[in-house]
């Protein structure tokens, strides 16, 4: 069996650790390139969202490399993603590939059952250890990414933080054992902190929106890094570990957070609309209360939950006096248009800050 899964940020490092620990042979899906997107878009329905097209492209490239088992995620709507695995299965079968597709539904018991099948012959202890180790890699990668977002706007030598980050990702990918993962994480965080930094208060921008677009830099056109280079401290409201803890493990603290967020959003949006729509609204309110300079909402074009949020955000923006920039991505997205919008948004926030300072 040769197992493959789609890309989403550094998800592949985490899943590779997990499945290798199960005793599966993991085939690394070729990294996302323009060709992946072209392939995906070619065989996808036109109006489906970008995550569908991209992951389909990933699957085709993995199958071409000899993968025979694909792992993807399911869902329970109203976001369309829940149905994607079925549609993609049909498309790939029509293209004539022989493969088995395992859809992981967001339900811990089902997940364990699915994974038990993959880890045939492994003891529960070994399975637990794989989970533990994959979880450690995920947490380490997220912590480093979070730190990168803080250091990037302050670094004196452009690109120095990203260089450390890049090395750390590679090292974590190759690390074996919890102790080594922890050592790399600590070393990287310390090295980032020790970089030459400018002393000033950068703009603080919150990033909300759909998870795939937020986590995959190829898709969001390096949004976090671009903003960092423009002197913006980016606060991403969702990392991979947040998603896993909240949606798969249903940790108590995350359920509590969700309740708080739902209460915040209530005056604007009274119920779950699928995906992360409600959270986008709630987080914007929260960041308005916490005097962030601005919020950027990023999502794939035609994403239903985020379109609902998008139409609510102007009112939130007005009530809480926090500027919001909305970015919808599809395969046609040009770089120049993005840069113009980001630059103008950053200018706007700088002017506002100066005016606020002058006013008080």
């Amino acid at each position: 069996m040769k197992l493959a899964f789609p890309h989403m940020g550094h998800l592949h490092i985490v899943l590779k650790e997990l499945f290798t620990g199960f005793g599966c042979q993991v085939l690394e899906t070729p990294p996302i390139t323009k060709k992946t997107l072209e392939l995906g878009a070619k065989y996808s329905p036109e109006t489906v969202c970008l995550p569908f097209k991209m992951t389909l492209g990933n699957f085709i490239e993995a199958l071409e490399q000899g993968a025979d088992t694909l792992v993807t995620c399911g869902g329970v709507g109203p976001c369309r993603l829940g149905y994607y695995s079925e549609v993609q299965k049909g498309i790939l079968q029509q293209l004539g590939y022989p493969f088995k597709l395992i859809t992981v539904e967001p339900d811990l018991i089902a997940v364990v059952k699915d994974l038990r099948l993959l880890a045939a012959g492994k003891s529960w202890r070994e399975i637990y250890r794989s989970f533990k180790q994959a979880g450690a890699k995920m947490a380490a990668l997220d912590n480093i990414e979070r730190q990168l977002n803080l250091i990037r706007p302050r670094e004196v030598v452009a690109g120095s933080a990203d260089q450390l980050g890049f090395q750390a990702i590679q090292a974590i990918d190759g690390a074996a054992g919890l102790a080594e993962i922890q050592r790399i994480e600590e070393k990287t965080l310390a090295a980032l902190q020790a970089l030459a930094q400018r002393q000033y208060e950068p703009l603080r921008i919150g990033l909300v929106g759909e998870i795939y677009v937020m986590l995959e830099p190829f898709i969001n056109q390096d949004l976090e890094r671009r903003l960092g280079q423009m002197g913006v401290e980016v606060h991403k409201t969702m990392y991979l570990s947040d998603y896993v803890r909240a949606h798969l493990l249903r940790k108590r603290e995350y359920l509590e957070t969700y309740k708080t967020l739902a209460a915040l959003a209530k005056p604007y949006l009274g119920h779950y609309v699928g995906g992360h729509g409600l959270k986008s609204v709630a987080r914007t309110i929260q960041m308005g209360q916490q005097s962030y300079d601005g919020v950027i909402q990023a999502y794939p074009f035609t994403c239903m939950p985020e379109v609902i949020a998008k139409n609510i955000l102007p009112q939130v923006s007005k009530d809480l006096d926090i500027p919001v920039l909305t970015l919808a991505y599809d395969e046609q997205s040009g770089e120049a248009g993005l840069m113009t919008r980001l630059e103008a948004f950053v200018d706007l926030l700088h002017y506002r800050r100066r005016q606020k300072k002058a006013g008080c």
Binding site: P30, G159, F301, P314, G337, A344, D347, L348, Y351
Partner: protein
Amino acid sequence: MKAYLGIDVGSVSTNITVMDEAGAVTDSLYVRTQGRPILAVQEGLRQIYRQNSGLAVQGVGTTGSGRHLTGVIVGADSVKNEITAHAVAAMHLVPDVQTVLEIGGQDSKIIIIRNGVVTDFAMNTVCAAGTGSFLDQQAARLNIPIEQFGDLALESTAPVRIAGRCAVFAESDMIHKQQTGHSIQDILNGLCQALVRNYLNNVGKGKPLAGPVLFQGGVAANKGMKRAFEEALGCEVIIPAHYSVMGAVGAALLAREEALSGKPTAFRGFDVVNSEYTPRSFECSGCANLCEVIELKMDGIVIGCWGDRCGKWSNQVTVA
């Protein structure tokens, strides 16, 4: 004369303005880019140099979609996006402006200003209907010089409703109206109204549009569009004196701001019109990103590189 230059390199036109120290525009130029931004900038600067003797350039600002390329070519002190440039120019000419409508060759934007600060903006996202290029194309199809488009639209006597949601459908709807015998004047006016409707629904959606309203960009020359905006908004729409070169006016103002902070200008001088610039692009195969890298040579020497995500190429250049 001590002066500041503003250069706006857009999809359709390249505009240059000369500004004196007090901030008054003393000369301006509007040339077609025609897909050759470098030649357009060189030609524009050549004309500016010819028309203005004894210019002592204190600062240069660039804006528009070609701002980075042009910034490297001329040696710019300020390289700013067109939204900021347009807002700065609008506030300079009409200090109490609250709304800026701007329609250019391929994009249209709206800028909301309160108390001298940009508070909100929007650009057209997925559709180019209602921009200058479409009007250009329709005028050409009807064999009407674009300069007469507006005057003809004003002669309209009966309203004709054109579907303006999409440029392609607008065109087929216009043809349909022609074939059923409506006058050209009425159709042109109907088109203006449709484009304004589309603009306000798309770009201006949900924005508080308060006066004074400024209408700028190349399309502001079209009197039919001005009237259609006034009808839709129910207030007067002001067209500033330098409406077609407002981006360049803003760029010059931003360059002046930069120069006043005491930095000497990076301007390479008017000699750049005689230099030979050769850009080339290639796909970097260093990693899976396959970035499209652009390299710009000036008289055989590499002066700029961009488009790479990692800095492998752009960090090599020290001359720029």
